[in-house]
Amino acid sequence: MNFCLYCHKAFYEPVSWSFIAGLSEAMLFCEECSSSLERINGEYCEICGRSFILFPEQYRQKHCCTDCIRWEESKEWSGLLTKNRSLYVYNDFLKQIISTLKYRGDAELAQGFRAPFRKLYKKEFRGMLIVPIPLSEERHYERGFNQAMLLAELLGGELLFPLERVIHEKKQSKKSRKERMDIKENIFQASKEAERIRGQSVLLIDDVYTTGATIRQAAKVMLESGACEVSSMTVGR
């Protein structure tokens, strides 16, 4: 018997040969919670990894969503991000999980994404340097941890910290997309460790890709510090 990592209800795992043979990891979310998570499968935007299923056709041009086209058309932001890939659609259920993780501080919830997050890393980004998106000093202390770092740690590789968050203003989630695109000053700067990424491929890790502004700001600093390309991976999109 297991207890669901999110709803805490007791449940029995469906028995499978791969589990008996020790090939698959124990299930951490119960069936009901697992089925509320929508895996991004099938067609998605080539740049930001947004699922095209349940996505209005008029916001799509060939393999790109119109949001990404707008980023790519702007002189300042074009070509910064090679690609983003995410595990799940950022639906109401995932929003609840992420908010319990971040704002209530239930760090353990990150463990629920371990197996699929590792798999996605191996499939799409194997060998790239892992860089969690940092929090400001203030926010980090307040929360006691950085959720992006918890997620990056799931991958099992070495983590690099070439970034520092310098601007700690009103919460990103309260800003409009336009406000985020208009930011002139970068909220990140390179840290002492930035030398280590020169000539390397960098993979940024964050909990959610919402508008892509945070990731692109970080990517910009990484490219200026000499990274040869920057991609990102998140749980929600």
């Binding site: 805490h8 501080g105 239930d106 760090a107 353990e108 929360r143 941890f145």
Partner: protein, 499 residues
């Protein structure tokens, strides 16, 4: 958070790292890893902050939950007005949360903590929705003078009449105020139990006691706030539930969901626990713990229930628990007795998008004669299937369940008479009262419909004195003990009421 410990006059004192004295002391450590320390004695000349007293007296809070600055809090500590306690304890190798009492190993986890720099800072996952309690978070308690409300006017302003049975229960309660004891008020659905409490609460308030009414459900808190504010206009009153913004700190009368009691410690001289049968056994064990911790040692505990569980009834019979019964509704009419109607293999029919014939005809009958009806079903899945079918009969029919985002609005529309039939899971079995309503249960044989659930459901009918004879139907595919017991229970109450 990290603290430092240091010596003053041979005593070990502590301070949060940013407020540490400059001279030599051991390196800062997680609160959990501090050596034993001595609480500073109370300095009676210290001018304490009454806001802090109101926020903290009778409670156990995180530093983040207090409004004064860390400096000011530490000053109160230095003068003996505040105590720091461990948030997480180690009890014989098991973790224990000192706020919610959780000691289930799977409800603890740890993380590499940026506050205390420990690689594994253990925290409680059970009460995390109220802010994280971890090894390095002290729980803060007030050790200064008690709050007092003596200058307040606690007069009861109410000119309603009590029925003789209500009167008897009231007398019993008033007689117990100020006594360290327990009292069970066993009142049928619609007995008017809130009114029974008025005089007892008044006496307690006048004696300067702090009073709490705890209920498992937010709906009840919301319903009680205006009623009690009206009858106790001079009393400081606060309503607490998840997400409540009411920050009336230091109130004398507190209406709270049981969850919110986690934050209280030795606060109340009188605790009234509503719907005690919904709790503690069918609920979380830690909630029972919350009630125990929130009361003072000499407190009077009052339990309210229409359907006390077997254990409590037994304690009553054996004289271990004084109890008083109100078997009659306040309007004097008998409780509607359920009728059993066999409806065949309804699950099979549902799969074919059909409903049993007699259920269908009950629904059309209700609509024809313009009477609203509650239709209780055993699961959310059944509910969804039924609503899909019934919307075709009448598009105004609605379904509601606990997770429904429009729950409040739907119940409101039913109350306003806009919805002819409201299909619902057991969430509405308690509390919700709508006059001129009949009640039916589909699948009354299902396990979820226990004796007490069925009694509560039947109790939704005939609540108003203008419509005392509501109808209660149990549609079933095979009678169960619970159904028979529920019927007996209701008949017995009517007999005891002399009806």
């Amino acid at each position: 958070m990290r603290f430092v410990s240091f010596f003053v006059d041979g005593k070990t004192r502590i301070a949060p790292e940013p407020l540490a004295p400059l001279d030599h002391h051991p390196p800062p450590a997680s609160f959990y890893n501090l050596p034993d320390f001595d609480p500073p004695p109370l300095n009676e000349d210290f001018a304490f902050n009454p806001t802090l007293q109101a926020e903290l007296a009778g409670k156990l809070l995180l530093l983040d939950e207090l409004s004064p600055s860390l400096e000011e809090i530490q000053q109160h500590y230095n003068n003996g007005y505040i105590q720091y306690n461990k948030g997480i304890d180690d009890e014989q190798g098991n973790w224990k949360c000192n706020r919610c009492g959780n000691c289930e190993p799977h409800m603890f986890a740890s993380f590499s903590c940026y506050r205390c720099k420990e690689p594994q800072c253990v925290y409680c996952r059970n009460c995390i929705m109220m802010g994280r309690v971890s090894q390095c978070t002290p729980l803060v308690a007030w050790s200064g003078p008690d709050l007092n409300w003596e200058s307040r006017n606690s007069e009861l302003v109410w000119d309603g009449m009590l029925s003789p049975a209500q009167e008897r229960a009231t007398k019993k309660l008033v007689g117990k105020i100020g006594v360290r004891d327990e009292l069970l008020i066993w009142a049928v659905c619609g007995a008017g139990k809130t009114e029974v409490l008025f005089q007892g609460i008044e006496k307690a308030l006048k004696d300067g006691q702090r009073v709490c009414i705890a209920t498992p459900r937010t709906d009840v808190v919301l319903e009680l706030i205006p009623r009690l504010r009206k009858v106790f206009p001079g009393v400081t009153l606060s309503g607490l539930y998840g997400g409540s913004k009411d920050k009336m700190d230091g109130a004398q009368l507190i209406l709270s969901t049981t969850h919110q009691l986690f934050r209280f410690r030795k606060a109340f001289d009188l605790i009234i626990v509503d719907e005690v049968d919904a709790f503690p056994f069918s609920y979380d064990k830690t909630l029972a713990h919350a009630v125990q911790q929130a009361k003072r040692e000499e407190a009077l505990m009052v339990y309210l229930s229409a359907t006390p569980d077997r254990k409590m009834k037994k304690r009553g019979e054996h004289g271990e628990l004084s109890s008083v019964k109100i078997p009659k509704r306040y309007h004097g009419f008998p409780l509607p007795v359920p009728r059993f109607l066999w409806c065949g293999h309804w699950k099979k029919l549902l799969k074919k998008n059909k409903l049993p014939q007699n259920v269908m005809s009950w629904i059309s009958h209700q609509i024809e004669r313009n009477r609203q009806g509650f239709l209780f079903v055993p699961s959310v899945r059944t509910l969804e299937q039924m609503v899909a079918i019934l919307k075709k009969v009448n598009p105004l029919i609605e379904g509601v369940h606990a997770e429904d985002p429009d729950r409040k609005e739907k119940v409101m529309r039913f109350r306003n008479g806009e919805t002819p039939i409201l299909v619902t899971t057991t969430i509405l079995e308690r509390g919700v009262t709508v006059p001129f309503t009949d009640v039916a249960v589909l699948g009354a044989e299902e396990e979820i419909f226990s004796e007490s659930a069925l009694v509560q459901i039947a109790g939704r009918a005939g609540r108003s004195k203008d419509d005392p004879a509501g109808e209660v139907l149990f549609f079933h595919y095979g009678k169960t003990n619970a159904m028979v017991q529920a019927k007996r229970h209701i008949e017995q109450m009517n007999r005891e009421a002399g009806l």
